[in-house]
């Protein structure tokens, strides 16, 4: 990863293998994430969680999958049928398209057919912006789903999607701008190399940006402090009220894939990326970091209450955005002086 000239050429076959790998592994992980989430939330409330399907319930995913596939797929009578049908696909598809520009696994060469599989499916040099843009486009899924289903809870859910999007998107962009200024690039590989060879992690230089990015990331993935779109106690299920079966499942695969993506961005941009750490090899480090950030999201969900929509807007526009701007100003000043 350090010297680009040493790497074998990236072929179309390698990229296709990579794409299939990402789809298979992340879709599986996203499904497995539901099991992990239920298990961890249960432990934090001193419950056991799913226990009966397989040892300690690990095959719960299979049971849920069978249930979702065989469930009747209902489209409400007055719903806008086309939009209703494509909305879940938008969420799932954008989540996986975003993963195209993210380094997911280390690169390797398949031994016998001699095909080099790269670490990033498509190494465009504006990776971070592309991922954030794609994840932002993913919010069209909830928005369209809520508006198409002619259900008042759905339309409240999609209204909340719109305000959530308009609130956090500014903070995400501004918070990640400061590390971008320090590294001077938008490519994930450059971020990784900036923190290579024993250099300090960027979170040491940019603690404020890290916290802001985490908060915005929670809003981006609709996780608990900001799970306004589908909060059961207030709006039944928000945008997924009328969904059932596999369409409903697609929303959740998308949501969990987004959680993994946010984990990868946080790890690569702020937490040292896939560099070796002392004696621990890089691939274990990156998996550990992603796993921890996934666990952190579940941990927060178990611990904290969620906020009202007006509180989210207040927080994003009146607190986080000024903080992010001040952070950028200070970063710029320090970079100019030093």
């Amino acid at each position: 990863m350090v010297d680009a000239t040493m790497l074998p050429e990236v072929t179309a076959a390698g990229v296709i293998i990579k794409a299939i790998l990402i789809l298979a592994v992340i879709a599986g992980l996203a499904g497995f994430g539901t099991y992990i989430e239920r298990k961890i939330l249960a432990f934090m409330q001193r419950r056991l969680g799913p226990m009966h399907v397989g040892p300690h319930g690990v095959l719960q995913l299979a049971a849920d999958g069978i249930k979702l596939f065989t469930k009747e797929d209902i489209i409400p009578q007055h719903a806008n049928k086309i939009i209703f049908a494509i909305a879940p696909i938008i969420t799932a598809a954008t989540a996986f398209i975003a993963l195209a520009a993210v380094p997911v696994f280390p690169d390797f060469t398949i031994p016998f057919i001699d095909v080099y599989v790269p670490s990033i499916a498509s190494d465009i040099n504006v990776g971070i912006l592309f991922v954030l843009g794609m994840m932002a486009a993913g919010l069209y899924g909830p928005l369209l789903a809520g508006m198409a289903q002619s259900n008042k809870w759905g339309i409240i859910g999609s209204a909340r999607t719109a305000i959530q999007f308009l609130s956090y998107e500014v903070v995400t962009g501004l918070s990640i701008l400061a590390p971008i200024m320090m590294v001077g690039s938008l490519s994930f590989v450059d971020f990784n190399n900036y923190q290579a060879d024993g250099a300090l992690w960027l979170v040491v230089y940019q603690p404020v940006a890290f916290v802001l990015f985490l908060i915005a990331g929670f809003a981006e993935t609709n996780r608990t402090p900001f799970d306004l779109l589908e909060h059961e106690a207030e709006i039944i299920s928000g945008y997924v009220t009328e969904y059932s079966g596999m369409r409903w499942g697609l929303f959740f695969i998308g949501e969990y894939a987004n959680m993994i993506t946010i984990g990868i961005i946080a790890s690569v941009v702020f937490l040292g990326g896939y560099n070796d750490f002392w004696f621990i090899p890089g691939w274990i480090m990156i998996i550990g970091k992603i796993a921890f950030s996934f666990f952190f999201m579940l941990w927060v969900r178990a611990s904290w209450p969620h906020v009202r929509p007006d509180q989210l807007m207040w927080l994003c526009w009146k607190v986080l955005m000024p903080l992010a701007v001040i952070n950028i100003l200070i970063t710029g000043l320090v970079m100019m002086i030093v």
Binding site: F130, M147, F165
Partner: protein, 189 residues
């Protein structure tokens, strides 16, 4: 080869999507087609190798159309078609036709007159973001700054216009009333 196929795919889908935007009577269809058309346009930038502009197109228009959706949600019932009133169809036809003609002339004039030549050719070894930055902060610096000031003025004006009665509670008609106070006072009794 791939690029040609991709170009035609993007071109056809963009055209179809914008046609839907113009002709659909359903708000939801129109706006969804608009948003996806914008995403398709960003595909052209990626094809041309202008990754940065492509991503900016994506982010900016995703956000902008999202705001449009918010308005659509407030004003229309998304599941029903809208009945449009045509008061003067002849005028609309003439104006629309004239505008289309002007656009065709505008865009085809340089091609007919002279092949387009780049004044600032692509600099080798410089990324997209740097190239955009160089142009923006040298040749178009004044325009950039003026636009920035204009946006700032517009933002302040918007806040002032929208925030005139921000601390006026509609539920109690009391200026000094604050819901948080009520909760705290109620609990403190």
């Amino acid at each position: 080869m791939y690029e040609v196929i991709a170009f035609y795919v993007f071109a056809i889908s963009t055209t179809i999507l914008f046609l839907i935007t113009a002709f659909s009577k359903n708000v939801l269809y129109a706006m969804t087609a608009l948003a996806s058309g914008m995403v398709m346009i960003s595909g052209f930038f990626f094809l041309l190798g202008a990754d940065f502009l492509g991503v900016v197109q994506l982010i900016v228009y995703v956000g902008a159309v999202m705001a449009l959706y918010a308005f659509g949600m407030m004003f229309f019932d998304a599941t029903k078609d809208i009945k449009e009133k045509h008061q003067n169809p002849t005028l609309v036809f003439i104006l629309g036709g004239l505008m289309a003609l002007v656009f065709v002339i505008m865009f085809s004039a340089p091609i007919i007159g002279e092949n387009v030549q780049a004044i600032h050719p692509v600099i080798e070894g410089v990324g997209n973001a740097q190239a955009v930055g160089m142009v923006l902060f040298t040749k178009y610096l004044v325009a950039f700054e003026v636009a920035a000031v204009m946006l700032l003025v517009a933002m302040i004006a918007g806040i002032i216009l929208a925030g005139k009665k921000m601390d006026y509670s509609l539920t109690t008609n009391d200026d000094t009333y604050d819901h948080e106070d009520e909760i705290l006072k109620g609990a403190g009794k």
